[in-house]
Amino acid sequence: MSGSRIQNNALIDRGKTLSFQYDGKTYQGHPGDTLASALLAAGVKIMGRSFKYHRPRGVWGAWFDDSNAIFNIALGADLHPNCPATTTYLEDGMQARSVNAFPSARFDIKAMLDWFSPFLPAGFYYKTFMRPDWHWFEPTIRKMAGLGKLDDSVSDGYQSDQIHQSCDLLIIGAGPAGLAAAVNASKNGSAVVLVDDHNIAGGSVYQLASDIENQSPNLWVEQQIATITKNGGRILLSTTAYGVYDHNLVALVQDLGFARAPRLWRMRANRILITTGAIDRPITFANNDRPGIMSASGALEFLGRYGVLVGKNIALLSSHSHTGDTVNRLHQAGVRVATFTAGDNSPIAVGGKNLRALNVDSISHPCDIILASGGLTPLVHLWRHAGGRLEWDEAIQAFIPASATTSLRAAGAANGVYELDEALADGRAAALDQPSPKAKNTYRIKPFLPELNSHKRQWVDFQHDVTVKDIELAARENYASVEHLKRYTTLGMASDQGKTSNMTGLSVMASVQERTIGQVGTTTFRPPFVPVPLEIYRGVRRRQLFNPPKRLALETQHRKANAALGEYGGWLRPAWYGEGDAQETINREVIAARNHVAIIDASPLGKIEVIGPDAAQFVNFVFYNTLSTLNPGKIRYALMLSERGIVYDDAVISRIDQNRFIISCSSAHVDGVNNALEAWRQDGHDPDRVFVHDTTQNWATITLSGPKARALLSCLEIAVDLSPDAFPHMTFQQSDFMSAPARIARVSFTGDPSYEISVPTLHAPALWSAVNKAGKSLQAALVGVEALAILRAEKGYIIVGKDTDGETMPHDIGFSQPRLRKKSAFVGDRALHTDAANADNRRRLVGLSIPASENRLVTGAHLIDASGSKPRSTGYVTSSYDSPTLARPIALALLENGAVKIGDRVTVWNQGDVRQATVTMPCFYDKDGALLNA
């Protein structure tokens, strides 16, 4: 037991007592405590186990610079994993358990792993678990690794607010420099936002042993806050700036209390001022990971903010001149402090779970706590996120911000200015974008050279158990670049993210290579600065609000008809109608469509109008097929290619009049086709002579398909001559339905005569009920998308993207005429005449036939050529169904040189299952088109 609570003007509310549990034992604390400060006050030293060797660890820092004490915390029904003990504020009733330890951090059965540590150096995994196969070891290692356990109920009601704001000046860090800057900047009325990750502003002022600008630290902070607020500045507390992104976007995460989803602020700032301060660097010496060895600034934070004295008999080991506040504050609190300078004096920490002494030059100095301070490291993470450069300052042995840009500044300790008065002046100047006053620097630091080739273990990364020896090994094996070093040893890879371990690791590497740290360089700093829950990025974009589907105007009617709704190409559409067995229902719909008439909601089909004096020339250029010769009133099937000659979409195109076309593209590709049309229109044509207008959602379309389609259409009050001669396949008519305009296109996606009736969306319900009423006597059936997919496959009609892939050209799917004959330029034209396009082994669309007694082929199964020494895939099945019409399985496939293989037998392979099929033409139904054209 070494820590204790003392009476001072700390920031906790001593009037109230909170009760909590840690590893099964009950403790008390006060509002304002963190879990770590309350445990330290109760004399608890061991708060966690290291990741690899399960060594006992106490806290190193008092805030985000600690990665040893990580707890799973339960409070009421909430269980949250991986909460840092140093940044989680205490709440009454919390039950905390250290992660990575069982049954407790004090007695952990996996501690025996440490005995094997000589056999587990850096790179051990990479060397050992290669043979016979990593996957053989993976499950066990995964089980042993990892920290807290995630409970599914964590996400119940856990939803982050996301706030988008902007400001003139964002000041990050409300320490002395930040507060002084915010006062100065807010005076002239500019919109200032000051953020700080603590719930009380002030930064390092509570560590001071003396006044600040002739006032007590607590009073000084209060006055700055009052001034900033009076001037209209805003202060966000419990808010961490964890990343700076392009164009001055700063991500802020605001803690709202335990088990509440934090709030994300996306703050766009004209200027950013980084006043994040500096943190203490560990010192590498023998056994420097023992519980009770902590940073000097951490001890002062515990004292100043929480009234916790970390020990009774303290040894201070440092390598720099600025330890006065530490010694004075601890003396004021009545503690003896023995000071030692780190150097060539081989310090060794003596003791196990309880520290007994610090040996220096072989002389033993009894102590219960060792404070280590290897120098100050400016927190330049955000500076680097923002793209600011760093330079190595040999005098203060630190990387500091180099050149300032107009919108990015650093001030105070983050800028390498450690004297209090100088830091205040630096902050005030930076606030007004004035040059920094030339700072006097009394800070002195001895470049620290870690002791190499030592037999004792000296720890660099406390969380991942990386030692000086591991870094020496990495250097020996030529992982000498800092980025390689980091990945080989896992140095600075966990939640610490190098905050404490980075500089120590670099100094070891510098020693090994006999270079300066500046020459060794530093690893890249990336967001997030502190761990953040992924939830903050999700916010309200969940379930129905995550990529919401487009809804049909007739959705109510479909639901009334028992439609099973599914998402197809971004639309919520009826997959089938009825509640029985899905496949039987779908098959029944197919049969009804073939024998009687199908009613299909085809509203998602594209309806993009192309209008203007250049419209004909334009569509003729953008599409593969010749459209300039299309007569008004006629419809033509056309493919849209990319400039690489690859089929992007297929469409039926109606010419309404000389200067007006309607592009009815696939429902899933409407946005893409529209974008392509707009891009060619604006960047390639005169945009004043052709217009593109997407009216897809303005019109609802009901398709009637089947032998009785004409009979059904004739029952509707639409005045059109339906005789085959007056209204042949691939033509359209304009008429009226209930005094609204109606367009009827005779096109087919089923192989049977079909009519697509389009009316303005408002009139869709009237048309739907008229069609259903008239359909009753004709045994009409509602048909969903699944049955439609079978109907079109029976006819050999493709779905682009399903029956084609990223290599399919139009002549691969049977459209070779325009490639050879079209007289004018079109998108992708030259690409259709490359060597690859002319090759005779291109994959072509074919049909596959198998006996009625067999199961259907698996979509994606490979068509194998077994004639060579090694079997080779020559294509694959793209669509496969049990055809209700033909009462046998059918399939479409892409097959190398398939056009000349009609009638051949082909081997079909799927995950070891080998089948035989006969190659056919892709069309299985009404091959001569007699029914279609009837």
């Binding site: 164009h247 400039e643 707009e678 891009a679 960047d683 030259r830």
Partner: protein, 88 residues
């Protein structure tokens, strides 16, 4: 998150924009002989300049296609131009 200026709508977040290619690329006249090398250069050759870059972008909500100049190193937007010529 970068911010770009659409000539039609003004300053918007980059998620509203699509990159459409480097500016100044001329489509070969495919009615005349185009060598495989010329066509390949048209399809595949991008300069990817470090620093000043001139590019075609699309603002998806309004579908304006325009030219943007930016610095690929500093991410600074140097200016935007509309493609449309003023009516004669």
């Amino acid at each position: 998150m970068q911010q770009f200026t659409c000539p039609f709508c003004g300053l918007r977040n980059e998620t509203e924009f699509h990159f459409a290619g480097e500016a100044g690329k001329i489509r070969p006249d495919t009615l005349n002989e185009v060598s495989a090398e010329q066509w390949s250069a048209y399809l595949n050759h991008v300069a990817n300049p470090m620093g000043h870059s001139r590019e075609v972008w699309v603002h998806l909500p309004c579908q304006e296609v325009f030219i943007m100049q930016r610095d690929t190193l500093t991410m600074a937007v140097l200016g935007v131009e509309q493609l449309r010529r003023e009516p004669k």
